[in-house]
């Protein structure tokens, strides 16, 4: 091994603490990049392969009842490669051994057996016999959650008739990678299942002989999706079409997409921060080493080493740091990827998944790590290489301090000499001070942003579950029923209170903007499911107008008082012009609300309801569920306690993981910046500080100078960290806002305080560790050594 390489390794060993701290910061960036980028790639590849292999449809449309004869016409639409008609229905399930009712979605299987589009993967057993009337296949997670095996039975309420069904097999489908039941916010595999049933049996049960109510289309690559959707809507219009949608609005696809988006934005935002901080820290450390090794550099040049060799020597030191960081990052990243894959396995149902980051992810994260460390070292290494040998041999000129306005201000304040030294030290290297403060500010910002997220979720949960939705259960009816049905519901065992709700589907239009939304008819004074404004007051939709969620109003570009066009896709399917009576802030969905009486009047019908909200006597729950299983007109039941519970549990789990990760990140950044900053200060000021000790200053007084600078920088960083954090929070708010949900910008003082506390403590501990070195300083040796 060359002597110079040996020097490199020994230097690296001597610097281990500083190198390790930097490597940890870098490892964070590498791990996050590897995980997010790697899992993004894995998900994308897996999904694309799955879609391709199993012919996931491009367009999905529902209608009330379309004749089978329409299918060839649909197939004839320009750009349509294939189309498949199905009957899709809802059913209440009675699962042996389960007290609570479960709901199921019945999907018909074509007479030929396996479907042409959205081809399910057989996990166990076999597909139902096309001729059988009581055979079904269920989605594998539902089977697993309920302990079903092929041959097991369950009973379902099909269009009012209770039927015993035999499970012949379990399936996975590209259509149901992410499955979420009606009214639920997170998947509940046990309580919601997909039931594939032969078309003949479904048609017989739901009176859909020679008809379909759902069609999926696969397009030619050259087809324009929007045109096909328009054509399809026109064709389905007479048969109660609810509006065709592309994949972007298909539930499962949209959820996987949202997850991928989040992975991608994490990959774009976080790693660069770590790489930048690494570059800064490497720059600081290598810069100092080169200052210390000035005469050695001179010597190497005198001996005849080329500039490039010297430059590479110092770059290699940075590369070694990067190598350690990359190694650690890969290890942590591999572990994180596995953990994330586990989480995905819980939520996403793929028949196969490449649960590991790709080779490219390893290579790219490693390359970026090495590049950022090398970039950090480049400036100093080039300086070392360019230093003329004769200059390198001479000791450096003392740092130039000049009297400034600031000094005069300090003098006027009569601060002590140590305080003066602290301030001058900061101003001596303004860029370094600024970047150190910025680094710690970013640590604060990360914590503020993470804390904001927790508080925002708390606000959402409170608003959505405890202020807006106070019912214990929602019973959904297959069809609208007369308001009198509420009395029947009130008579169910355990029901304490009942209120009706009416749902329609409508397309809202304002000029070029249009949006298909569920339209909720509200009975005045309804108190179980409420629309609540920001101040927590109940808002009723006034008769004669329509009340919109603020995000929906923004998408449609309408303001209160303006008129919009409401094209009903249900009821009489008429189009009305209505005045926007107001907007309201909401976190879930894109809500549109009307007075139920007004809605009934528009549809020229007697008061009707599509769902009933109830409060329950918890002691009577088993009886309540028992009674529900036999009610014919029910299409679904949502137990709000379950929804709240599983949502909050999911959130709590995620928040715990997230908080742990972000605190680790913030502490690593702070320690990286504060520890290295203090070490470099100690190195630069060893003589000065030793002189102070010789002059009679105590250890405490001397460490005050050293720690004062670090802690002052940490303090200066706080307000900037708060501002950056609030900025990130605002960005997250707008970035995470989708049709599914919105996140409110909730900034609690406690979140700022917590962030500052963590960062200040980490900075303090870092400089205390360096202080121990100061305490052990050999005064005589320091004074003797040549700078």
């Amino acid at each position: 091994m060359d002597a110079l390489d040996r020097k490199l390794l020994r230097d690296f060993r001597r610097l281990w603490a500083q190198a390790l701290v930097i490597a940890l910061v870098l490892a964070c960036g590498v791990a996050i990049l590897l995980t997010t980028f790697g899992m993004y790639g894995a998900l994308e590849e897996t999904r694309a392969t799955y879609y391709e292999r199993n012919r996931f449809a491009d367009i999905f449309a529902d209608a009330r009842r379309a004749p089978a004869s329409l299918l060839p016409v649909i197939r004839g639409i320009d750009g349509v490669r294939s189309a498949e008609a199905r009957v899709v229905e809802a059913a209440i399930l009675d699962i042996p051994g389960r007290t609570a009712t479960a709901t199921g979605r019945i999907v018909s299987l074509p007479r030929g057996g396996a479907p042409e589009l959205n081809l399910p993967v057989l996990v166990a057993g076999r597909l139902p016999d096309p001729e059988a009337a009581d055979e079904i296949a269920v989605n594998a997670p539902f089977a697993a959650a309920n302990g079903f095996r092929p041959g097991d039975r369950l009973s379902a309420n099909l269009n009012g008739r209770k039927r015993a069904l035999t499970i012949t097999g379990t399936l996975l489908s590209p259509e149901f990678i992410y499955t979420i039941g009606p009214g639920a916010l997170v998947p509940d595999s046990a309580g919601f299942g997909i039931l594939w049933m032969p078309e003949r049996a479904v048609a017989a049960a739901f009176d859909m002989e020679g008809a379909f109510n759902n069609v999926t289309l696969k397009l030619d690559p050259s087809a324009t999706q929007a045109d096909v959707i328009d054509r399809l809507d026109v064709l389905l219009e007479p048969y109660g079409g609810f509006g065709a949608q592309g994949r972007d609005l298909q539930q499962s696809h949209a959820f996987v997409d949202a997850e991928m988006q989040q992975l991608r934005s994490t990959a774009m935002v976080l790693p660069p921060i770590f790489f930048a901080i690494t570059a800064f820290l490497v720059n600081m450390v290598i810069g100092r080493i080169i200052a210390l090794e000035r005469s050695e550099i001179g010597l190497l040049k005198a001996i005849g080493y080329f500039d490039a060799e010297i430059c590479i020597h110092y770059l290699l030191l940075a590369v070694l740091i990067a190598a350690v960081g990359t190694g650690l990052g890969w290890a942590v990243g591999t572990w994180l990827s596995r953990a994330l894959a586990g989480l995905y396995a819980e939520f996403f149902d793929f028949p196969f998944l490449i649960y590991r980051a790709s080779f490219a992810a390893y290579a790219i994260s490693g390359l970026l790590a090495v590049a950022s460390a090398a970039l950090g070292a480049l400036h100093s290494a080039l300086k070392a290489a360019r230093m003329p040998p004769a200059v390198a041999m001479t000791p450096p000129a003392p740092p130039r301090y000049r009297s400034s306005l600031f000094d005069r201000a300090l003098a006027a304040m009569r601060v002590s000499q140590p305080v003066l030294m602290i301030f001058r030290g900061l101003l001596r290297w303004p860029l370094r001070s600024a970047l150190s403060a910025l680094g710690m500010a970013l640590a604060v910002a990360v914590l503020v942003a993470a804390g904001f997220f927790t508080d925002a979720l708390d606000t959402i949960v409170d608003k959505a579950f405890y202020q807006s939705n106070r019912q214990d259960a929602v019973l959904s009816f297959t069809e609208e029923v007369p308001e009198a049905a509420l009395e029947a519901v009130a008579n169910l065992p355990g029901v304490l209170r009942v209120e009706g709700q009416l749902f329609h589907v409508a397309v809202l239009r304002n000029g070029p903007h249009e949006k298909r939304v569920p339209l909720e008819g509200r009975y005045p004074g309804a108190d179980l499911s409420r629309v609540v404004d920001e101040a927590g007051r109940r808002v009723d939709a006034p008769p004669g107008g329509i009340l919109l969620a603020r995000r929906l109003a923004r998408q449609l570009d309408v303001r209160p008082g303006e008129m919009i066009e409401v094209a009903f896709l249900s009821g009489r399917r008429e189009t009305q012009r209505l005045r926007v009576s107001g907007t309201i802030r909401q976190y879930f969905g894109l809500g549109a609300y009307m007075d139920a009486g007004f809605l009934n009047a528009l549809n020229r019908q007697a008061p009707r309801i599509s769902a009933a909200n109830v409060t329950l006597d918890s002691a009577a729950l088993p009886d309540f569920h028992g009674a529900l299983k036999d009610i014919p007109a029910l299409s679904g039941i949502t137990m709000m306690d379950d929804v709240r519970g599983s949502f909050q549990e999911t959130i709590r789990k995620n928040v715990t993981i997230m908080t742990t990760i972000y605190i680790t990140i913030a502490v690593l950044i702070t320690v990286g910046v504060a520890y290295n900053g203090a070490r470099i200060q100690l190195s630069e000021r060893a003589r000065e500080l030793a002189s102070l000790r010789i002059l009679g200053f105590t250890r405490g007084e001397v460490s005050f100078v050293l720690m004062g600078e670090s802690m002052l920088l940490a303090l200066i960083a706080q307000p900037f960290g708060w501002m950056i954090g609030a900025g990130i929070a605002a960005l997250m708010t707008s970035g995470f806002t989708s049709d599914l949900y919105a996140i409110p910008l909730v900034l609690e003082p406690a979140a700022f305080a917590r962030a500052s506390l963590i960062v200040l403590v980490a900075a303090l501990v870092s400089s205390l560790i360096v202080r121990r070195r100061l305490d052990r300083l050999d005064l005589v040796a320091v004074m003797k050594s040549r700078e």
Binding site: A3, K7, P388, R786
Partner: protein
């Protein structure tokens, strides 16, 4: 131990014209420090010969270190010309000068300039790694009497030992010239004499042209020639008819 026969003629080969190693013509170096121009060298004409041991004597600030730096290719002249044999150093760029240092020059500095993280052997190896025809590091260390200290680190050695490692490092590449800047400046008299003895040995045994700059007048007695420096100029040049062995010198 293989001792290479030095190139060119030896200074001691009487009756023949000695070969020039260095030649300078009107060599000038001006430093510009904060608007004040300092003439470190104000027109130096000098010749140094193969195999000779020359002492450049002068007070601090007289320009002798500047001259040594320029001769050794560590610094550029402001004006005038310098030749190493037929090679004009003043016409070389940084890369050329590095090549020149790598191939022809050995340096010894006042503060030894050892790399603290490398042992004696490895410090010498720094040079042998990049030389064309070096000695083995062990051989170089034997020549300065440090065979038994090879694996010690600089911090574990005395000043004199460190300087001898520096000399071993300088001669390991078998340089044609050895340039020593105050090699005894940081040493006490007794240790200094030991170091000078090593330099004399190298000069005599290997025939390496050696330039020693010092402000210590006593050292002049071991030189073949003494060049007196003052205010950036050569005041006079003396040839020693009789040289003293370092052991006979003291200060």
């Amino acid at each position: 131990m293989s001792i290479r026969v030095p190139r060119g003629y030896s200074w001691r080969m009487e009756g023949r014209m000695p070969e020039r190693v260095f030649r300078t013509e009107g060599l000038t170096k001006v430093y510009d420090t904060g608007g004040v121009q300092v003439h470190a060298l104000a027109g130096v004409d000098l010749e140094l010969f193969a195999g000779e041991l020359a002492v450049l004597l002068g007070p601090s600030g007289s320009g002798k270190s500047t001259l040594l730096n320029i001769l050794g290719g560590l610094d550029h002249a402001s004006d005038g010309r310098v030749w190493f044999r037929d090679l004009e150093l003043t016409g070389l760029g940084d890369r050329g000068l590095t090549r020149f240092r790598r191939d022809h020059v050995g340096f010894v500095f006042q503060f030894y300039n050892l790399v603290a993280s490398l042992s004696a052997r490895e410090n010498v190896q720094l040079v042998t790694d990049v030389s064309r025809d070096p000695m083995r590091p062990e051989e170089a260390l034997e020549q300065v009497g440090l065979a038994h200290r090879m694996d010690h680190f600089p911090a574990e050695m005395s000043g004199g030992e460190q300087q001898r490692v520096a000399i071993a490092r300088a001669i390991a590449k078998r340089p044609e010239v050895l340039l020593c800047d105050e090699p005894t400046g940081a040493l006490d008299s007794k240790t200094g004499v030991q170091v000078l003895d090593v330099l004399r040995e190298v000069n005599e045994r290997l025939g390496t042209s050696t330039v020693v700059i010092t402000h210590n007048a006593a050292i002049r007695k071991m030189a073949h020639r003494v060049v007196y420096f003052q205010d950036g100029r050569i005041k006079r040049v003396e040839v020693n008819e009789t040289r003293l062995a370092p052991a006979e010198i003291s200060w």
